[in-house]
Symmetry: D2
Subunit: 143 residues, 4 copies
């Protein structure tokens, strides 16, 4: 039951994301390999307020985007995957630094993909948040 | 074990939200009563793209804000409540209309508040999404 | 998008459950109507220890069974629905009394059913636990 | 922010579990180290029916027990930790074999512990289920 290899490169994924969002979000795919992908959000894009807080919705959006990028990388840009559910645990206060999201398949099935996402602030080891994101996959997906 | 009555009015809650966000989000508290609150996000603020889709992160942010407003209404604006976890199920495609979030306490304890949130598009009956949002409450909260 | 009416009666559901479990669990379907079902677990079956505690797994199993019974009631006994995910929040300490589970559809789609379940101890008003249970439905389900 | 080292040995944990449950569940702590613990449930205890299915509630109970054992190992047997929430994704069909649960701290805070649990069937590599379990910790916990 090995999952397929990625079908898109980092450059192709970033090009796709640039086209997909009207407003830049500061997301950049850094790395992709079988079952795993790293997405980075630049500190500049976080628009930190005094105190350096990063909002919960910012973390949720990043987790969702990282899961989406991982799926896209493995089933290709034609697919229309939609988020079915998302569970996030907020663990430690983010630092005023880039956010790094590591996404990994728990499952890539025919109908559903389930992705574990860990969020860190650049330069720290403990996680800021952990999410499980489930996407419903379009019928006819190859995997 | 009756929960306390709300300690803030709709007007006070809306004033608080206006101050809290740098950029307007189109949120308006419409109604508050014991254990329940309704928050509305105007369709204008949704910045719909062709096709009229509303993004998942928009729905997650609204669910989180509705839970926060409900807690604030009941424990007052001095408190520093932070989201501990959020689980959201995406149910039906949102319509190009105002989004309405109905938040209700499942529990308002001393350490944790657990809130059920249902999201609808104005004018439709079936829910767009359902969320359970858990907030950690500051020590010394009265309830 | 009205959901279908129930296709099984309370008696048919209880007969099905009696056959499905090797060991009796003390579950009894009490009521079914469109989109809603009530499942009861008798206090005798809870095997309470001194102190009257009910274990978390007991509550999770009851929530899962109530969601399953609701789905079965609406799509019929031929279907092979399997739990896809379950999220439960434990809210208040159960009492040494019957447990009552109220299950309601958040969504009954072609591929997925999402069910909200509230658990109470008989005779108390505040919920013991709240769960969201997602079932994957077999292909070819009519709804 | 290093978490404390385990305060209980594998033998002490197994002794505690033997005492804690009225009926044997076939759980055995196999390994504990800083932030991680492995709990095994013997295939004999699974009481497999024809077809070899393992029920969802069996998996939920094991995930909860593994998280509890991990917490106990790190804060000691005096503590009264209670499950606050549990989210589980069912990923692949279990095999008729021992179940292995790998629990790891996402966070061990003063008030809350958040634990990631992966369940496998012995001899297979892909996960049967993944859970995130949150426990509320008693006041006065050292960590």
């Amino acid at each position: 039951m090995p999952h397929p290899d990625p079908q898109m490169t980092v450059a192709e994924l970033n090009h796709f994301f640039d086209e997909a969002f009207d407003t830049p979000r500061g997301y950049e795919v850094e790395h992709v390999e079988q079952d795993r992908l790293r997405l980075r959000q630049s500190v500049a894009s976080l628009m930190l307020r005094p105190g350096g807080t990063v909002s919960g919705p910012t973390l949720m959006a990043l987790a969702d985007a990282a899961a989406y990028a991982l799926i896209l990388a493995h089933i290709g840009p034609v697919a229309l995957a939609v988020t079915s559910s998302l569970t996030i645990s907020f663990l430690h206060k983010p630092q005023p630094a880039d956010l790094v999201a590591d996404a990994e398949f728990l499952k890539l099935g025919r109908k559903l993909a389930v992705v574990d996402v860990r969020l860190h602030s650049e330069g720290t080891t403990h996680p800021v948040a952990q999410a499980v994101v489930t996407y419903a996959l379009p019928s006819g997906t190859a995997s």
